[in-house]
Symmetry: C2
Subunit: 337 residues, 2 copies
Amino acid sequence: MNDYATVVLAHGGGGKLTHQLIEQVFKKHFSNPDLDLMHDGAMVEIGNGRIAISTDSYVVSPIIFPGGNIGELAVNGTVNDIAMCGAQPKYLSASFIIEEGLNIGELETIVQSMALAAKKSGVSIVTGDTKVVPRGKADKLFITTAGVGTIPPGRNIHPSCIHAGDFIILSGTIADHGMAIMSVREGLEFESEISSDTIALNGMVEAMYHVSSNIHFLRDPTRGGVASTLNEIASSAKKGIRLTERSIPVNDTVRSACEILGFDPLYVANEGKLIAIVSSADVDIILSAMRKHPAGKHAAVIGTVTDDHPSIVILQTIIGGERVVDMITGEQLPRIC
Amino acid sequence: MNDYATVVLAHGGGGKLTHQLIEQVFKKHFSNPDLDLMHDGAMVEIGNGRIAISTDSYVVSPIIFPGGNIGELAVNGTVNDIAMCGAQPKYLSASFIIEEGLNIGELETIVQSMALAAKKSGVSIVTGDTKVVPRGKADKLFITTAGVGTIPPGRNIHPSCIHAGDFIILSGTIADHGMAIMSVREGLEFESEISSDTIALNGMVEAMYHVSSNIHFLRDPTRGGVASTLNEIASSAKKGIRLTERSIPVNDTVRSACEILGFDPLYVANEGKLIAIVSSADVDIILSAMRKHPAGKHAAVIGTVTDDHPSIVILQTIIGGERVVDMITGEQLPRIC
């Protein structure tokens, strides 16, 4: 942080600078065991049970994009963060910061699709807030959702549950959301349109728990992509991760778009994908449960956990070499979510 | 809404236009019994108990002001919204939308005072999010907090609990927060500085419940002030409210500032005050419990509930006349919280 007296865009990129800002400003003052876990949501006790709490602010630009809009993203994103705690999402709050001049019809379209997304994922939006700021003091619309879900007994998502020999499952193709946003911004057209993959994952998570209780870790690889998420996991679990490039599903059009624009799909944001770390014994039944679900049709094992090279993610490339996959450093795609 | 194709500042003022926007866009699509109650927070079942969930986005300008800053406001505001449900606040989430270029020292000052405010009110900040947007796409810093609290059995805050003959207690002087912000913006100096009244009210609420279970309703009169809040209460309870102007505490400097700037203190925002509607039998013990608390030193009975003139708030003025106190119409003070 010594290098930065002011916040730069890369502090919001989900990579190294985001982590520095969190460590040196937020964790420094807010530090507590629940927060320090730095998972997608906090898992805390309430009454006789455990709940998960999560929040995200959405600042994506444009606010409406192929495959979704900021409202859908805000509902699905928080639903997913709750689900990644092994929890069943129940209630959401939604807070709107609106720039003066926003078209009310456009706002209503977004609100309507939030209502639909909430219905699809089985959550209720129970409370909210609306603020309006003068023209030029925001960019159309920012939405912050927070969510609460219940964690059924016996479910435990924690870095300490990750063991050498565990398998790493990815629920589908990567980089769709990021490249959908990027194509619109760059005005690129491809043979088939690239759509955001935004979708609620809680139904699929329930299907996975239905067949196995040996799910050791869950995360959705959003900002910073699969590479940054796996680095976070490796580092918090103090385990090594080995990936096989060949097994990582990427849609052909998305791959082309990444090549044209010079992006590595491993670092591009997803909004409807999850990474599950599961015991080797149950990997087949979990995988088959996921593949039956619309959100998991292309689920695949993409790697394994190892005691070698702790905190480091290594990719076995298609041509047979090996390379270290590091956390994203700068800001690849500002305002992707 | 027919008059507005786009969002105007007054849609965020906490008055009539805010209500129109909520009715015609948000409630239209999100409608459910918990949300429709339109209280400061939602009161919902989870596991074997009841919890309160609340959220607010803070966009106040300037972000640091006499008596507090945006971070303290964000913690205390959500703690208070939870407390206004009769709940005991436990966990907060905090989500930051930062404009590129924000001074990291300034951010740290704000984060530090959030940590202190959380500690003072006994809540943990357990999860959060950080987004950065390019220069000119936000205004320094917006913070959205959401909170969860538990509602002890036997507590029930609901418009249907309000009865004719109930007393209306206000916990202290009005208009401090709004005039603190306004004085800074206008560069006004008074003999004694006007400070924001931001403070957590959950401790005082517990002290009130400790002496009485006949607390029928609680609300903190923030945006739109005491007048707008009482109008909302009168309208949702379908009861009349009679206020005596003489009994409403206003700090002298604040009153002067209101006169100079042409504001009616009844419509100016508060951040550390509550309105309690309680049974007449318990009003004295509740009032005395409040006055022992730092946040309630100037607590006073300001009026009563009546079956006459349902949904209407009437003020008996100091000079002996009567006037209807309506909900705020336009936008009195943009970005007050």
